[in-house]
């Protein structure tokens, strides 16, 4: 009987205690962040979408080699001696045309390993994290500043330059024969 009454008593008291706690929480301000309207504060070193500042990129391919999932693909063409490719912001002369620089964000795991080896610190993490797409192909970002035609042109230019050089070399190789002849005359 004692046990019985004690059970009733504990039931009533514990229920009332529980109800008191929940009632108090009715008036505790909510911790919810109204996401699309209010953006949460991101931590200082958050890792999100990459950005490549092509003005500074020297096309050294270090980032692509560091990437564990191979989602960066870089294609470069040497610049002609006559061309001025400009300088990086640290004053380094650029020697390569970056004809193609794509990052496939559907593969990227946001490990930031590509950021550290970059000699010019031109590939870095931004605070953009809302870039979902309906098409997977749209997640392949192209950072190259050259249009496809320009890139094609650069390739042709370089091939031409190489061909010219080869011709010159061939001409040089043939020259002793040519130049000696007039001396003999």
């Amino acid at each position: 009987m004692r046990e019985y009454l004690k059970n009733i008593w504990t039931a009533i008291i514990t229920i009332l205690i529980g109800m008191k706690i929940t009632f108090k929480h009715l008036f505790v301000p909510a911790v919810t962040i109204q996401y699309p309207d209010v953006k949460p504060q991101l931590p200082e070193r958050e890792r999100n979408r990459l950005y490549v500042n092509m003005d500074d990129c020297i096309g050294c391919d270090q980032c692509a080699r560091a990437c564990p999932v191979n989602c960066i693909s870089i294609e470069t063409v040497k610049g002609l001696p006559t061309e001025d490719l400009g300088k990086t912001s640290q004053g380094r002369k650029k020697a390569l045309w970056v004809t193609n620089f794509t990052i496939d964000f559907s593969k990227c795991c946001y490990c930031q390993l590509c950021v550290f080896p970059c000699p010019t610190e031109c590939i870095y993490m931004t605070d953009v994290y809302e870039f979902s797409e309906y098409e997977r192909g749209n997640l392949i970002y192209n950072f190259s500043t050259l249009t496809p035609e320009e890139a094609e042109q650069k390739k042709i230019n370089y091939a031409q330059f190489e061909a010219d050089k080869a011709k010159e070399k061939a001409a040089k190789a043939a020259a002793p024969v040519n130049t000696s002849a007039p001396k003999e005359q």
Partner: protein, 357 residues
């Protein structure tokens, strides 16, 4: 009163009766269900330091309407192994069971669906229909979880009907009437005339009765909670064990029907508790209409007080739901058969002795 009005307006008893019958559904239960679902989500959210629905309308108050629109568009799935006729009738039966209870509930002195002399008895009887509907739903779904939920529900509702009825009998014994309207009329005046405070007759008996009336109220409130399958007595739909019990297989409007029935039921039991113990539609502090001499204001005030009391008890139901964990099946049965029923019996005898004095 409203019936006479419609009868005069349309000159046909059938039309008047149909309108009278549909009135609480469209004027009261649907808006109430819409509001209560929103309230439930808000209460639960704020009790857990969340915000709940916020995006449809001010603080999400149109969320339920959006949800109803969504449910209306949904495909009505009937699995090939379902027992189709039973499967289709079940939600209707559950809803009818809970809606029929509203026929005998006095919303105000001017509106009572049917002024039955057997009011409370009728309510207890028709809510029994809900069990049949739930069992049908569980059986016809041809799903073990549904059937388990339905069986549990039947066991639970039938057991908890006993303490409910014992407490109702206590009140009936004191007041001598089963008619909810008369019951409410008896508790007129101020709140000290309510049954929870010993009823309208003044005397030693009134004060002796107060503690036992409070016990009676607690018992009927707990057992009515169990009858409408609300937490902590929601083992028929226990999400973590039974998916969602007897309505697992339902989708679209049929599911909405169960949902509506649940909320209608919540209000019905709250209304019965309010009518039995808290003066029904009577104001606790007297009427403004009496004070300034406008007679037609009184029924409206009564409707307000009735809704306020009903809503308060609905709120407490939600409050309990978000406070207490679910009982185990054996605990559920123990609470009913070992605690509520004996106490209700003793309570009945003590109040009987007090009334004899």
């Amino acid at each position: 009163m409203t019936y006479d009005f419609f009868y005069k307006l349309f000159g046909s008893q059938v039309v008047a009766a149909i309108i009278q019958g549909l009135l609480p559904l469209f004027v009261f239960i649907l808006p109430f269900a819409v509001f209560a679902v929103w309230l439930e989500r808000k209460v639960s959210a704020h009790m857990q330091d969340r915000l709940g629905p916020m995006r449809v309308g001010w603080h999400g108050w149109l969320q339920t309407i959006a949800d109803i629109l969504k449910l209306l568009q949904k495909e009505d799935i009937i699995a090939s192994e379902n027992d189709k006729p039973l499967f289709n009738i079940a939600p209707l039966l559950v809803f009818i069971g809970s809606y029929a209870a509203f026929a005998a509930i006095p919303f105000s002195s001017a509106f009572i669906g049917s002024n039955l002399d057997l009011g409370v008895f009728f309510i207890v009887a028709v809510s029994g229909l809900v069990v049949a509907g739930i069992l049908m739903a569980g059986w016809a779904s041809n799903n073990k979880y549904s059937l388990l939920g339905a069986m549990r529900s039947a066991a639970q509702i039938i057991s908890y009907e006993i303490p409910t009825i014992l407490v109702i009998v206590t009140i009936v014994m004191v007041t001598g009437t089963l008619n909810l309207n008369t019951l409410s009329e008896m508790q007129t005046g101020h709140f000290w005339n309510w049954m929870i405070l010993g009823g309208p007759t003044l005397g030693v008996a009134k004060f002796l009765m107060i503690p036992f009336m409070i016990i009676g109220f607690v018992i009927i409130y707990i057992s009515s909670l169990a009858e409408v399958n609300r937490t902590p007595f929601d083992i028929p739909e226990a999400e973590s064990e039974l998916v969602s019990g007897y309505h697992t297989e339902y989708s679209g409007m049929k599911f909405a029907m169960f949902f509506l029935a649940e909320y209608a039921n919540m209000f019905a039991v709250s209304a019965v508790v309010a009518a039995l113990f808290f003066g029904g539609y009577q104001s606790p502090i007297g009427y403004l209409g009496n004070l300034i001499g406008i007679k037609w204001l009184i029924p409206i005030e009564q409707l307000f007080w009735f809704t306020a009391k009903g809503l308060f008890f609905v709120f407490v139901q939600m409050w309990l739901r978000w406070t207490l964990p679910r009982l185990r099946v054996d605990q559920l049965m123990a609470a009913c058969w070992k605690y509520l029923i004996p106490i209700a019996f003793v309570n009945l005898i003590i109040i009987g002795l007090i009334t004899l004095m």
